[in-house]
Symmetry: C2
Subunit: 563 residues, 2 copies
């Protein structure tokens, strides 16, 4: 059976870095040529990075992206390269497009037909939908070109199959969430079987603000079998020989097949690659968070990060991630005790810093706290200490971390989790202060799983077991426990999933999940009332199907109360 050699280059491009991205694509072309590949696929919008958002409204940006593309074409010889870029027609309509580069020139262009407009996606804000299939003849194999969503919708594959395509190439920028790889595989397998089409899927890899692209590019044959899988959450080049049956008769189609590459010379077959190990469900979250953190720092030109170490589980896991992503020498921990901090939590914080070998400073917040209380004394007029005083402590800590950031150019990592962000159990400008909130989309129950998984991975267990077993506390008042204010985290996280991620009503949550009505109502009210805080929070890395941020766009002013 004839084979076509595919090269799927899952690149880590940077939004706006047109020169840098062009060089990465050029390198991918050279490497694919060295492998004698017939077809190279790179991710969606590789030239400009994804998502470029309102940069697309700048005419100069689109012009510069086209110039970067034109400099790439001469390199595409003896193979075909599909390169994602922003196309614009003479009427000024803009398209999410794939350039077909072959024989040293830009042969033709495919324009994305299905533009997603849900979740984190806003493509119709920028792009006009294409309407024309593009089928290429490459080494006598007919390859249809698609971009990301085109493969999630049924229509484009159907059209390509009807027009006689044997392979669907897909340039993608598909953001990660838990078990997304398995969802993609199931979907693509179904498409392949339904139409007898092989699929060459190249996904982006890397972090971009709230999003992580997890790579895991794959080749699926026409029977639905995965014959090649690239790494998750790492740059990778997947080379695979795809056997293709003798061409079927060309179906009726308005899409003529464009011959771009003739018969190939002989070449040695590929060694069979070792199968890629698929990450477990907790491990993949950990790797996605580490990649998101690493890229946020790197692409925004930070080398060092700083975070407060409270002796709790959230800052412990955030510190682990930072050390794994950036190296211990690039992480600074700060212990900031107050009158309410126990010796145990301070000891745990320092033990953690010691286990990682990170720099650790201790800065007491008491002098500032006392100064604030004194200055406010006459206005507060002996009212009891409560929320205002608790938030002051958190804000002093936030200000100390920001002072270090300003003085030394360090990136402040906020350490709040999704359960806190949802309920507003967090202080705006206090523990919410920072450039990146690494575990902002991680529910508390999953934070514990990440900690246990990381301790089990070894070599040693960096997180002290007392951090894993102590009842969570903010230590902003005497003998305070999270569970004084919040329901048990297992219950809380189930309500958050149902209300935030699944948009279920209070009534459904109570009926279907057997949750106590007053608990469910209390949590939903907390979620609804905290929107103003979330709006001012730092970006965090999306790992669930629906994250706070661009994924969930709720009004602040909102008097709807779910019945």
């Amino acid at each position: 059976m004839p084979t076509v050699r595919l090269a799927l280059a899952q690149l880590n491009v940077t939004v706006g870095d047109l020169d840098g991205n062009r060089r990465l694509i050029e390198q991918a072309i050279r490497r694919a040529q060295a492998w004698q590949a017939d077809l190279l696929v790179v991710p969606e919008l590789s030239i400009c990075g994804y998502p470029p958002e309102d940069l697309l409204l700048k005419p100069q940006f689109i012009e510069d992206n086209r110039q970067a593309l034109s400099r790439l074409a001469p390199f595409a010889t003896n193979m075909v390269a599909l390169v994602g870029f922003v196309d614009q027609d003479q009427r000024g309509q803009t398209y999410n497009a794939a350039a077909v580069l072959a024989n040293g020139r830009h042969v033709t262009t495919y324009r994305k037909q299905c533009l997603p407009n849900y979740g984190v996606f806003d493509e119709p804000r920028y792009f006009t939908a294409g309407s024309q299939a593009v089928i290429l003849s490459i080494r006598d194999v007919r390859v249809g070109v698609t971009i990301c969503e085109d493969l999630w919708e049924p229509q484009p594959s159907r059209v390509l199959a009807a027009a006689g395509a044997q392979v669907v190439a897909n340039l993608s920028a598909s953001p990660y969430h838990v078990r997304k790889l398995q969802a993609r595989q199931a979907l693509f397998r179904g498409r392949a079987r339904a139409h007898g089409l092989a699929i060459a899927y190249c996904n982006l890899v890397g972090g971009q603000d709230e999003l992580v692209f997890d790579g895991a590019s794959m080749v699926i044959d026409s029977s639905g079998k995965t014959i090649g899988l690239a790494a998750q959450c790492r740059v990778d080049l997947l080379i695979a020989d795809l056997p293709v049956e003798v061409p079927r008769r060309l179906g009726r189609s308005r899409s003529p097949v464009i011959p771009v590459l003739g018969r190939r010379r002989e070449r040695p077959p590929l060694a069979r690659p070792a199968p890629q190990r698929v990450l477990g469900p907790v491990e993949e979250v950990y790797e996605a968070l580490a990649l998101g953190l690493k890229d946020y720092a790197r692409k925004n030109r930070f080398s060092t990060v700083v975070l407060g170490l409270s002796g709790g589980i959230d800052s412990a896991v955030t510190a682990c991630l930072a050390v794994d992503a950036l190296g211990a020498e690039q992480v600074v921990g700060v212990v900031m005790p107050s009158r309410f901090s126990s010796q145990e939590t301070q000891d745990d914080a320092r033990q953690l810093a010691g286990a990682f070998g990170i720099r650790c400073h201790t800065l007491t917040i008491e002098p500032m706290f006392e100064a604030y209380l004194k200055v406010l004394e006459s206005i507060f007029a002996n009212r009891p200490m409560e929320l205002a005083e608790q938030n002051l402590q958190a804000r002093i800590r936030g200000s100390l971390l920001m002072a270090l950031s300003n003085k030394f150019g360090w990136l402040v990592l906020a350490t709040g989790n999704k359960s806190e962000m949802a309920t507003g159990y967090t202080t705006l400008y206090g523990d919410m202060a920072g450039g990146l909130a690494v575990i902002k989309d991680v529910p508390k129950t999953l934070v514990y799983q990440l900690a246990r998984w990381r301790n089990a991975r070894g070599p040693a267990a960096p997180i002290p077991s007392s951090i894993l077993t102590r009842a969570p506390t903010a230590e902003l008042a005497p003998n305070q426990r999270d569970q004084d204010t919040l329901p048990a985290y297992e219950t809380l996280d189930r309500i958050i999933t149902a209300y935030v991620e699944e948009d279920r009503s209070l009534r459904d949550i109570v009926r279907q999940q057997g949750i106590d009505p007053s608990t469910a109502r209390q949590v939903i009210t907390m979620i609804d009332r905290s929107e103003y805080k979330r709006r001012q929070g730092p970006p965090g890395i999306k790992i669930t199907p629906k994250a706070f941020g661009r994924d969930r766009r709720m009004p602040i002013t909102n008097q709807y109360r779910a019945p």
Copy 2:
């Protein structure tokens, strides 16, 4: 010539307050009936408020909105009411719709055809576009129904005219920006003349997070003449008798005319209303800001606001707006001097507070500042005082205001202007702290115009003239002046308008505006690098064609540097 009596009720509804909004519409129906109106038009999506954003993804919300609508229908007797609501078909497709209520029932539904997806708008995220014109026969006059964008695009009016409509009714939620009324009038006049159609345009009024809807509903006759104009930035009910020529022959159309209301009984003619005074360009900005502030406070259940008074122009104008919007007794000023505060600015701040009769507290920031410096001494290790120490002062002030907010339930108003927000000449969690940044979209040069206009309006001039004449300073370092760091505000604001609002390239700005290249480059770099700050800023009220926030969606991680 026969006339149709129009009632345009520009309501101030609240997002999510289905019961409250329903009651407002019910009152409007009763008032229109008392005026013997033939047709009542209320704003787009009046039942649920605009924009409801991701509330639309909650099935229960859509169901509740339909129930609210069904309770309204019985009130619509002896007239027709067009009521904006969220419609859903049996396949679960959601529409931005207008219910035609007549004879006590919901007669038919029009579904918006043109869904805006630019600027602040995300309608295709939620709605499917309708495809069917709806023409009603009301007292022998043929009225076509449209919703907002349908009137901005040429096609729907053309179709209605061809089908024999004489009047186009439009339910709108059109956000304010400077001189938007004039833009709407010019557009509608053109539509009216092009097709010989009269226009009955009802716009929403009120604030919703970043947006202000300015009302100014209008009736334009088929010659393009404005025969009725409702108030700007206030709730109003415009009643107008529109003369309509003898019905033309029905054009060819797939849209049958739906008879909803027969010949009317005799009624006394309307007294000719006094023409509405149109606000001047500075005055309208002032009124829009006051409305936005008032509604943000009211709809989020705040009665009192607190703000820092620095003795500068920004806090002075913000205080003016707060007093005019909420009343002096609901505004608290706080003077927070440091070692760098001059006697003059402190005096000016207190004079301003006195002129308004607002409560004013003085809280020194020195004890906290000294405590921070002492605690950080060992880490800062005698490095020179600079940005970190400046930001600390701003963050102490932010923390004090937030402490008052937490203790007394006051809404903190941030006082930064657009020129600062653009260049990042502002401290995250410091002067940026607050629930609402009232003048966030007001360029500094316009802040001065607002101050002068407000002083001129009287009765007395509340803003001390020394505030208007003193060189702007942040007073965070000895003898600091804004112009040490920034170009002159006239130049700065021109660059911001060109780069932010018009998406011009650096090259264009230099060539077309004759701005010094190094100044332009410096400002653009500052704008690009401050995205991370803006992302965490409080919402502010949009008054320009492009505001920071939902209007301009730039990536934080962005290595594009405009050539």
